[in-house]
């Protein structure tokens, strides 16, 4: 996939668990897992905003473009 989600890296930096983040953002752990594993097809701006607020980071810290 061309867009890589570096959620694991940010969770490790902020010392937060997936479950904790999922509860704070208001999505299920299953959905967060889909995001982490790169299976997601799209992310809503509202979800991205919540994740960035909770992890205190920028969208660019989470999303990275990699040429195939």
């Amino acid at each position: 996939m061309s867009i890589v989600v570096n959620l694991d890296v940010m969770l490790a930096k902020r010392k937060m668990s997936s479950l904790d983040l999922a509860n704070r953002v208001g999505i299920t752990q299953a959905n967060l897992s889909i995001l982490k594993t790169g299976k997601a097809k799209a992310i809503r701006f509202s979800t991205l905003e919540s994740i960035c607020r909770e992890l205190d980071c920028q969208p660019g810290d989470l999303l990275e473009f990699k040429e195939d």
Binding site: N31, I34, A40, K41, A42, R44
Partner: protein, 152 residues
């Protein structure tokens, strides 16, 4: 009319059709004699294609039954429904070919009455086309749903 009631009525009609299809095969020779449809043709030229088409009718009815059951359980845009539609398409296609072959056979024996077979075959092919289009719509809907399910 609510969706639930509509599905219930449709399901009941499908179940009634099972019964009538079975009855029609038994009753056909007696009806044929009573109303005397072109007596000189011979009942077999019409009865045999009819008997060959009845299994396709049951196949299509079973697929419809399965689809309605799924819809009742709120399983709408699912591969099981596209599979059922695919079965209906094949059943209609098979029935159309029986109609065409029956019509050609009847044309060789007697020049008249075969037109009804061709008209029925055309109807079956049209049904086939409609079901194929509905199946394509369902497949696109499944893809859109999957994409939506994977939108976080």
């Amino acid at each position: 009319m609510s969706t639930e009631l509509s599905i219930k009525i449709t399901h009941t009609i499908v179940r009634i059709c099972y019964f009538f299809l079975a009855i029609s095969v038994v009753v056909f020779p007696f009806v044929y004699d009573k109303i005397g449809i072109a007596d000189d043709i011979g009942m077999l030229w019409i009865f045999i294609p009819y008997c060959l088409v009845v299994p396709a009718g049951y196949w299509a009815l079973l697929s419809l039954d399965r689809m309605l059951d799924n819809i009742k359980h709120e399983i709408v845009f699912d591969t099981s429904n596209t599979r059922a539609l695919s079965h209906i398409v094949w059943a209609c296609f098979y029935a159309a070919w029986i109609g065409i072959i029956g019509g050609i056979a009847l044309f060789c024996v007697k020049k008249y009455f075969c037109i009804y077979f061709f008209v029925l075959a055309a109807g079956e092919l049209f049904m086939c086309l409609i079901c194929q289009i509905v199946k394509s719509v369902f497949q696109s809907a499944i893809e859109l749903k999957e994409e939506n399910d994977l939108t976080i």
